[in-house]
């Protein structure tokens, strides 16, 4: 069993089976690097994760600890200067399983919890959780207007009116496609 600590003061700690906690690539790598230390006795602090989020993470990894490991694909760095354009592979279809649908904090008032969860999944490198979380948000956004998305994501429109007009013109012609 491994202990994980939240960033709260005082930290809240959770005890998780090692198999489950290794769904996080970040923690898995760390445990491998520390082979030989008695990690059962050493709580691992997670500076980016608060207690409610950590509780969700723990719940998720325990549920999914027996899942077959996802197929690893090297992450392609996007860069304008990169001239290899052979990576046409589309993101594989992500389906949110039933259990996860119930699990995700999907009420509107839990929005921030969802974003915290995504951030933690990103930080801990739990790819399947990040996938379903992002897929959920994408489904939510899909088909919505720019204003709606801004509102949903609490984003500020930081364009000047001129910039916005120019951008609008750039994109407008493609809308019929």
């Amino acid at each position: 069993m491994i202990q994980l600590c939240s960033n709260d003061d005082p930290p809240v700690s959770f005890t998780v089976p090692r198999k489950a906690v290794e769904l996080s690539k970040t923690i898995k790598t760390m445990l491998e690097d520390l082979e030989g230390f008695d990690m059962e006795q050493t709580p691992i602090p997670l500076p980016n994760v608060d207690a409610p989020t950590l509780e969700l993470i723990v719940k998720w990894v325990e549920q999914h600890q027996d899942d077959p490991p996802p197929v690893e694909k090297p992450r392609v760095e996007d860069d304008d200067s990169d001239d290899s354009d052979a990576d046409d592979d589309q993101e594989p279809e992500v389906v949110i399983p039933e259990w996860d649908k119930k699990f995700l904090p999907t009420d509107d008032e839990q929005k921030n919890q969802l974003f915290k969860l995504l951030n933690a999944a990103n930080y801990l490198e739990i790819k399947p959780l990040l996938d379903i979380g992002c897929k959920y948000v994408a489904d939510k956004i899909s088909g919505q207007t720019v204003e709606w998305v801004r509102d949903y994501l609490n984003m500020e429109n930081d364009y000047t009116p001129e910039e916005e007009a120019k951008l609008k013109e750039e994109i407008a012609w493609a809308e019929g496609l």
Binding site: C5, N7, D9, M30, L34, F37, T42, P43, P45, P47, N48, V76, D78, D79, D80, D82, D83, S84, D85, A86, D87, E91, V94, N112, F115, K116, L118, N119, N122, L130, D131, G133, C134, V137, A138, D139, I141, S142, G143, V146, V149, R150, Y152, L153, N154, M155, E156, N157, D158, Y159, E164, L167, E169, E170, I171, W173, A174, E175, G176, L177
Partner: protein, 428 residues
Amino acid sequence: MAALEAENARLQAEIDRLGRTLTDVSERIVCGRLTGELPDNFLEQFSQLPDRPLEHVLRFLPALQVAQMRHVSRRFNHIIRKCSKSMPKKESKGSVVFKSCNAGKLTVAWIDDRAIQVAEKKLTGDEVALSELLRFFCISGCIYFGEGLSAADKVLDQLSKAWLTIRPEVVVFAGDFSQTSRDSLRAFLVKVEPSIRRLNFQYTRNIDDALLSDDVIGAAGRLDGLMIMPMCLGSKLHNFNIGDRTLLAMADADHISSYGSVAGCSGVTPSGIRAFVEKWIKKERPKPGRQFSCCRKIQQLYELSFYNCANVTPAAVEEACGDLLKKGTMMAVTRASSVSEPGERNGQQGSFTVLCPSSNRYLHIRFHIAPNPAHIVFEPRPVNFAKDKFVFNDYVNNHEDLDPEMEDDDIDDYDGYDAIDYDNDEDN
């Protein structure tokens, strides 16, 4: 020397210090001394998520919405532009036509595979970057550079940008080349090399002899069809540095209908043609695949046409290849073309037909310009729609190129498969 030693000692001390700092940091992380120092509200807003989950969300959206999402904020715009290579793309089958009718005014039209114009955009000067428009689309099908300076460097360079996805099967240059440089053309051909099957320079104007060479054409990789037929004004004949290398590379084509129509390529020699014929005879017949499903009979026809190529005359070709033509498996027919046939120059006329009965393939070698050269790709034009009412216009008569059903008898009569019905390739 002393100075060097002092410097060395200083660097060593620096290394030790950094080493200690590193150990210190690692220890702090491992032993749990690094606790939350983030402000309370740090994660309250989605906008403060790192880029990666944001990118991830965007990748699940439909391509067009991704384009719209650039409006949300500068950061979104930045992320989307940064990652446009891996963002979802709308695939545009059918054709993209570039035209520049007035000086500096470039028009880009998208016509889908049912001949419906989906979008048209005028680009003025350099104001709107073309590549900006194309970020979210994967161009496949046909890229047609129509009238005017549509293939000028500034257009080609933008299309060659690394993060754009262009996978055309057919590229046609039918405009003015006076603002096109060899480097830009070559870079563009390298860019489309993975997908391009047919490359036509048809009635291109102001094409400099130095623009095309074996090397430039070679950049497009293996082609099933190549046409180099510049507009000849007055008595000026072209002399491109294109020769046997390009010709031999074409022998690998295994399309049901392949062609090499070249004009003014003085590098082509009768012995090169012989090498081509030898290679072609040895080749396996093309494997029946998806592309044959629409054909009446499976028969490959390869057409080679040479116009005004200094070293190629019927007599010289017959002399070089004569023994090949007489071998048992083949039949050679030499025909004199009728005197009235237009385009006859330099006394070049007639044609050879080589037949490989065992594999049901024909090779046709011509030495004149046919009145209606096959394999010319007409400029894709949209069918007009008036609101939701279909308007019958002259589409059927003038735009055979857009309708695979119509072209059998009009253009090529041998297999119902010609230079234009690239759409079928993808659909079947």
